[in-house]
Symmetry: C2
Subunit: 221 residues, 2 copies
């Protein structure tokens, strides 16, 4: 059988696609990596009693070993004739850890079901006209250095800085120097009940699953 | 009542979210702009007999007038107590024309339902590990000049060039000069039955709804 990487969207269980729900329910095993947010998002759609494979992923240098071991378990299920659905927050191939499994299993039949990214959920939460016409969009992780962040945002019209967390101060400093602080918004837990949307200048703390949106021009005309 | 901008995803009617389907079916009117691709995508989910508002959008200088007129018609429906769902290809706020309506109607109650973007559908079609770890992602429309395209892709790890169409030759030239042609892939009609995924170097013609994916490194490790 095959491996399916399924984007379960940014948080709201209603933001799964019809295809994601169908393929989860047609699978014989669901797998999930790391902390379990993807499982929490998909939980209302899991058939009772469906076998689950929880693959813990430690932060840091042991991650490679965890992916090796997870890939080994998944391969065994597929070779035994079962379809394995890997649940992925947002989209599987946009900053998702699914691709580390894919790199280890791409000799098997694989399908990827795209999902709604947290970037889209954040712009929807703000009702922010993110990109139009000739705009360019830069998605960049807050984990980069100040110099790298500055270089990458320089020529973009619209900017989303992902994985803000403890990098909040750095992100704010970079956007302030670029003259973008007045238009920057912080969105945490987009599409979940605990969602917040605030001007970046007013935010003191940021969870890992939060992002900053900034824009070089006013709203679309 | 209110205006809802609904992302209907990249093409496959199964890539609507559960929320998109529910809110379409709870609305009293569906509206769609331009050529009708969004309507075609959502067609299997429209209740029979649902009133529709087709808003033609001419290419070029008359577009502003068309949005004015479309916004006027939608406002009348909402002020008469009806909920209007505007169907949008992909995501409403990522290169969608919904934002031109939003700019004219944002004094009314508005909700935006995020959708799966064609970028996500294209990376899923290629099973391409698009962005991981510290990667940065640049989304850029092929309509920009060669010089602008070059400047914008310079510091991105992963690149998606949208709206390729008649700009195919220019996009290929820019990526070749950047040393990215060997890793560039052209995806047309992502997620639809007519989908194609080909090395960019082998493509001679591109529809408007196609994009090019390029990457500065190999696959995720």
């Amino acid at each position: 059988m095959r491996l399916i990487g399924i984007g379960v969207g940014p948080g709201d269980p209603e933001l799964l696609t019809l295809k994601a729900v169908r393929l989860i329910q047609e699978s014989q095993v669901v797998a999930h990596l790391g902390g379990g947010l993807a499982r929490r998002i998909a939980a209302p759609h899991l058939p009772p009693g469906m076998p689950e494979l929880a693959i813990p992923v430690p932060i840091g240098s042991d991650a490679g070993h965890a992916y090796d071991e997870g890939a080994r378990l998944i391969r065994a299920e597929i070779e035994a004739g079962r379809q394995v659905a890997v649940l992925c927050e947002g989209d599987p191939l946009l900053y998702g850890s699914f691709m580390y499994l894919l790199a280890r299993l791409d000799d098997l039949p694989v399908e990827v079901v795209p999902g709604v990214s947290s970037v889209m959920a954040a712009t929807a939460a703000e009702r922010f006209p993110f990109a139009a016409g000739n705009d360019s969009v830069m998605l960049v992780p807050a984990t980069l250095s100040e110099a790298e962040l500055e270089r990458r945002i320089r020529f973009a019209t619209a900017i989303a800085v992902l994985k803000v967390g403890r990098h909040l101060g750095k992100v704010r400093a970079v956007l302030a120097r670029a003259g973008l602080l007045d238009h920057a918004v912080h969105v945490a837990w987009a599409s979940l009940p605990e969602q917040t949307v605030l001007p970046l200048a007013e935010v003191d703390e940021a969870p890992y699953f939060s992002l900053v949106l900034a824009h070089r021009r006013g709203r679309a005309a």
